[in-house]
Subunit: 454 residues, 2 copies
């Protein structure tokens, strides 16, 4: 009794249905009333999540390939037909649906701030509407994780961070995308093998407690492991007792040394990591194993890592899981997608506490004489702005439904992020009391908004 | 320049790589040392997340189909080969890999408590090890959301709850699985069309603010919409001003009534929902539209819903998004997967604060004379237990790698959950000060654990 979708895997054939039903009900009504004029929607975040001083753009690559490939296969159309909401004419329209719009976006790896437009979609209204939910789902999650990972990487202050979140991520897609987003934000790599294959991310990992427990003794497990991995063994030493485990690992490390080989590292996964890392480092150094690295894991986040770094815990690499992959302290980014302009002119929503800025926009980032970012300016599309050291942050990434330029490799994106970290004010990088960054609304845009409100 | 996996879609062909690298490095070492004896691993949760009094089993269906279908395709083997960690003999072994084990599990929709075994996997060690991460990723997330959704459904106290989380869920797979898990836990359905198609879940949704803004006036938008959906229009009334929106909706509702049709509902999405729902209800009733339902949405969780219900806000259905789909207050479930038994006998990990219970186990649930659950008992596999009103909670769901019985439909699973809600102590259903439930460890099992510790 195998149902066709018991595992629930999404593919290019059915991804067009990964959307809220209301996108289709609205689209149908637009279709029936002939309301398919050109419209512009803007994806943006209304406010910074608590304890975030900047956000990192991530997810655009998936969004662009989605837009280039979205179509409705037979199964999807059949299913929509069963809902009893749409007529055949509309289903036929969907059957030949293609996204033909133009997209401007902040490149991946670049930082941004509320309420800056991050992605602007201009397309016939039905097309721009139908893609809303997918864009939000994709961007909100990857940007959420990249923004959290950035804090963790900042706290590690040059020591390595590896994504260990797979088992606690929200499902399968979250796991591969969390690996991608955290790598963009400066992690060294991930434990997630599939993410490694998909996105060309370095993969890390050696052993779990169950491995150690599968042998009669800990030292037998260690000996066996280094035999199979003479060059890259990281031994997990806390299965029974960390100090005892360190002694066993050192014994094995010395045996390797005698044989002309090098033990790569030890991993701590429980207990007082500050104390244990110092003890174990001392033991290693005392036994001539100064080259053996120490990795630590276990419920780490930016604050615990900061404490360890400030306390000079001799940890070389941090394995970070749940806190990074779920952005645990703030597990959702509130990106929204709003109509800003259509054939009726600039549009503005006025709902209580949820007003938007009307019209198409341009985002400028201004640099001081040393090339450091010091403020952003949101202006109207056609406004003449006099900013000698400002550049336009949004790039045209799609035109008439086709990607306009090479999609950057993940290495380029990661480098852009790391470059950004060199250019933002130091205060934004303080994870405890972050400063704020100035995002100005141009006079022209303010007047326009007031005109709508008034 | 289309990379083959730019969208990162997972399929049966590559899902075997959705795992931590260390599963493969360990497996390789077991393989090389001929350590492939039968072993039993247990998936369980160490402690209840804050503000949870019970957990709901969910995700087993996906786990069983994964186990029945896991294999390594050419691309996956090629990628593993590039890592330089494994020899050809091992890659050949993976090339013909099949999971041949036996699985016992708590059925989906049934509640459970820490540290009860939820899934027990007995298989040749390499097989049982390789599937670890996928099982954890799948179970942790679906159980997380089902357990959160259960609280929201309890708070709604008989009023409807619909999943609106797609745009804030952690990626694509999370969205379809959150819809599934929340439906199991008593929601009426979801806005997520793909989840509807995959899992036969009712789908809901009508319009967004952008629809209203796409017309010259709100009332024109409403008139157009009810023309296209004469039977199932829910009008969103807060785009400009909720009371003004209600007046427009009522005007349209009366026009429909005159024409012999019924407006289905209104939706509130911002502002003081208690106050506004009462005002709007009064306006509707005063105009002879008592049959028009009120739906509310906007950052709802179990506490806000409870307040609205206690305050007798006349809301018929709640649309719940972020808080449910990300389990926002506690966004990760710490399920773990531990070796409990192998050829060396019962196994136990002793790491600081992370000890496990040794050996294969049986879980009993005890009912009082009225059929109400009053305690659970974890006993050793072969222990003779005298429980006249206890039943074994774990069922054998897979044998020799094949699913042993019909996988229950989602309707059956949902019914099981709702049945559970009738049988658990009332105190567990208090979302504010939940009582605790007694989970006993049998004397035999305690003695065994002490033996390992001593």
């Amino acid at each position: 009794m195998t149902a066709p979708h018991n595992l629930g895997w999404i593919s290019n054939d059915n991804m067009a249905l990964l959307t809220d039903l209301y996108e289709f009900t609205m689209a149908y009504s637009y279709f029936r009333s002939g309301k398919n004029e050109h419209a512009t929607f803007e994806l943006f975040v209304r406010e910074l999540p608590q304890d975030r001083s900047f956000l990192v753009s991530a997810g655009l690559e998936q969004i662009l390939y989605y837009l280039e490939n979205i179509s409705f296969g037979e199964e999807s159309l059949d299913y929509l037909g069963t809902l009893g909401l749409f007529d055949t004419e509309f289903l036929d329209y969907l059957g030949s649906f293609k996204f033909t719009g133009t997209v401007y976006a902040i490149p991946e790896g670049e930082i941004y701030f509320p309420p800056e437009p991050v992605i602007m979609v201009s397309a016939p209204r039905i097309e721009a509407q139908i893609v809303e939910t997918f864009l939000l789902n994709t961007f909100n999650f990857q940007s959420l994780v990249a923004s959290k990972a950035a804090r963790i990487v900042l706290a590690a202050d040059g020591r390595g961070v590896v994504d260990f979140s797979l088992r606690r991520d929200h499902g399968a897609d979250a796991a591969v995308k969390a690996a991608r987003a955290s790598y963009i934000a400066g992690c060294l790599g991930t434990s997630n093998v599939l993410a490694g294959m998909f996105f060309d991310i370095p993969v890390f990992g050696t052993m779990a407690h169950s491995y150690v427990m599968s042998f009669v003794s800990e030292i037998e497990a260690f000996r066996r492991f280094v035999k199979d991995y003479p060059k890259n063994s990281v031994l997990l030493i806390d299965t029974y007792d960390t100090i005892g485990g360190a002694k066993n690992a050192i014994k094995v490390g010395k045996e390797m040394k005698k044989a002309g080989r090098k033990l790569q590292g030890l991993r701590l996964d429980s207990g007082d990591l500050a104390l244990l890392s110092k003890k174990v480092r001392g033991m290693l150094d005392g036994d001539g194993l100064g080259y053996v690295k120490i990795m630590a894991s276990g419920d780490l986040n930016e604050y615990r890592i900061q404490d360890l770094v400030k306390g000079e815990a001799p940890i070389d690499t941090f394995g970070v899981g749940t806190e990074m992959g779920t952005s645990r302290d703030s597990p959702a980014l509130g990106g929204i997608y709003k109509l800003s302009c259509d054939n009726l002119g600039p549009r503005m929503k006025l709902s209580c506490g949820k007003a938007t800025l009307p019209g198409k926009k341009v985002l400028y980032r201004c640099m001081d004489t040393e090339g450091m970012y010091w403020k952003d300016l949101i202006a109207t599309w056609d406004e003449k702005v006099d900013l000698p050291d400002g550049y336009k942050v949004l790039e045209r990434v799609m035109e008439n439904g086709s990607i306009t330029s090479d999609v950057p490799s993940i290495t380029v994106i990661r480098r852009r992020f790391l470059g950004n970290m060199e250019k933002i004010p130091a205060l934004l990088k303080d994870i405890n009391n972050p400063g704020s960054y100035s995002v100005e609304i141009s006079e022209n845009l303010s007047r326009k908004a007031e005109g709508h409100l008034g």
